[in-house]
């Protein structure tokens, strides 16, 4: 294979940014030169194992392949005797939290929050326009009594969560991913927990060697409605 002219490392965004194309394409990933170089990676000879693996995969009837998958899942469920939970993992300051995806409406970029005279306080930040809906924005970290860490990094996001017609917006410092956990993997909350968030914590999830607080969404929303409204 011909050697690659990696202009993106020389004059592109990973180089000194002197490429004249950058004015029109902004980033190398939009540039046709970069795309062509990427496509050329496919111009390599295929190893025989790759051929054999795909030949075997394609030879498997589709419904059988699906059946195998279902069986594997069913097997796992019956082995643990429980079902799995899908949670969204996010970060507030130094702590990781999780909420059930059942209450998650969307994750969006931060926007302008309009403060309400005489109503805005440390927990209730104001109103925000999310796709034409006026929603209440709350500082979850303040509500849970966490230390507030001032940061305006590019990772911060807004979580839109809620039941049915009542939705809330929580600014968070980072949204990691949606994670699936076995209900049996949830650990009980330690009896002595130093921060006040323990009353909303349903369990602890181990994720990438971090402890994640799985928040009780129902209790959280119930308390929010009582306190804020």
């Amino acid at each position: 294979m011909d050697s690659i002219d990696d202009c993106w490392n020389q004059i592109g965004v990973w180089g000194d940014r002197s490429c004249p194309q950058l004015e029109t394409v902004i980033h190398c990933r939009n540039c046709p030169v970069y795309a062509t170089a990427g496509r050329n990676l496919l111009e390599r000879d295929v190893p025989i194992e790759y051929l054999d693996e795909w030949t075997a995969t394609i030879a498997t009837p589709l419904d059988e392949a699906v059946k195998t998958l279902n069986f594997a899942e069913g097997d796992r469920d019956s082995a643990t005797g429980s079902n799995t939970l899908s949670v969204i993992l996010f970060r507030l300051g130094d702590e990781q939290f999780a909420l059930s995806v059942g209450v998650l409406h969307e994750v969006t970029h931060p926007g302008a929050v309009h403060r309400l005279p005489h109503r805005t306080n440390d927990s209730f930040l104001g109103l925000i326009n999310i796709r034409g809906e006026i929603l209440m924005t709350l500082s979850l970290s303040h509500f849970l009594g966490l230390k507030t860490v001032e940061n305006s990094s590019s990772l911060s996001r807004l979580l839109v969560v809620g039941h049915h017609d009542r939705k809330w917006v929580f600014p968070v410092d980072e949204v990691h991913r949606i994670h699936r956990v076995e209900a049996s993997e949830l650990k009980a909350v330690p009896v002595v927990v130093s921060q006040s968030s323990e009353s909303y914590t349903q369990g602890i999830i181990d994720w990438q060697s971090k402890k994640v607080n799985y928040l009780d969404a129902d209790l959280l929303f119930y308390t929010l409605e009582r306190r804020i409204l």
Binding site: R39, L42, E43, D45, V46, L51, D52, T55, I58, A59
Partner: protein
């Protein structure tokens, strides 16, 4: 019309994506004897014996090279007796699609009398020729004969 682009030699060709079911990687094919040379062989496609046409050999008289970008476009076409039949079309550099809703008689040119060779049109990449693979199975006597004989069990019949 959304088209799937591929290359044979250095030239670009396009087929209509409407009847393409999926694009799969290159697999090991079992060669067949006494068939037209552009039939690369048959393989087991999810339990069906499916013949594969080597478009590079058909258009450029060279075999498709064994590359990651060489892929098989699977089509599932209706036959005259009401059943449907699988066919694999193998080509090189099957990596892109092209949407051209504006193609009509004004900006295309009919350049060949061979039924499966379609119109030629211009694009940023250069000249692209459309391929009507349907004619490979319905018009070409030997190809349809081949499909009838070898995959009879699947219910294939000549048009």
């Amino acid at each position: 019309m959304l088209m799937l682009l591929f290359q044979a030699g250095d030239n670009f060709y396009a087929i209509d994506s409407a009847q393409v079911v999926e694009v799969i990687p290159i697999v090991t094919l079992r060669p067949l004897n006494h068939v037209p040379e552009y039939i690369a062989g048959v393989f087991n496609y999810r339990g069906n014996l499916v013949p594969v046409v080597d478009l590079c050999r058909l258009l450029h008289h060279t075999d498709c090279r064994s590359r990651f970008s060489t892929r098989i476009m699977m089509v599932y076409y209706p036959t005259s007796d009401g059943t449907r039949q699988w066919l694999g079309l193998m080509a090189e550099r099957v990596t892109e699609t092209l949407n051209r809703p504006d193609l009509d008689a004004k900006n295309t040119a009919q350049v060949s009398d061979v039924p499966y060779l379609g119109n030629l049109f211009m694009d940023e990449k250069g000249m692209i020729q459309q391929i009507h693979w349907q004619h490979l199975v319905s018009d070409d006597r030997s190809a349809s004969l081949f499909i009838q004989e070898s995959v009879e069990a699947n219910g294939a019949r000549r048009d």
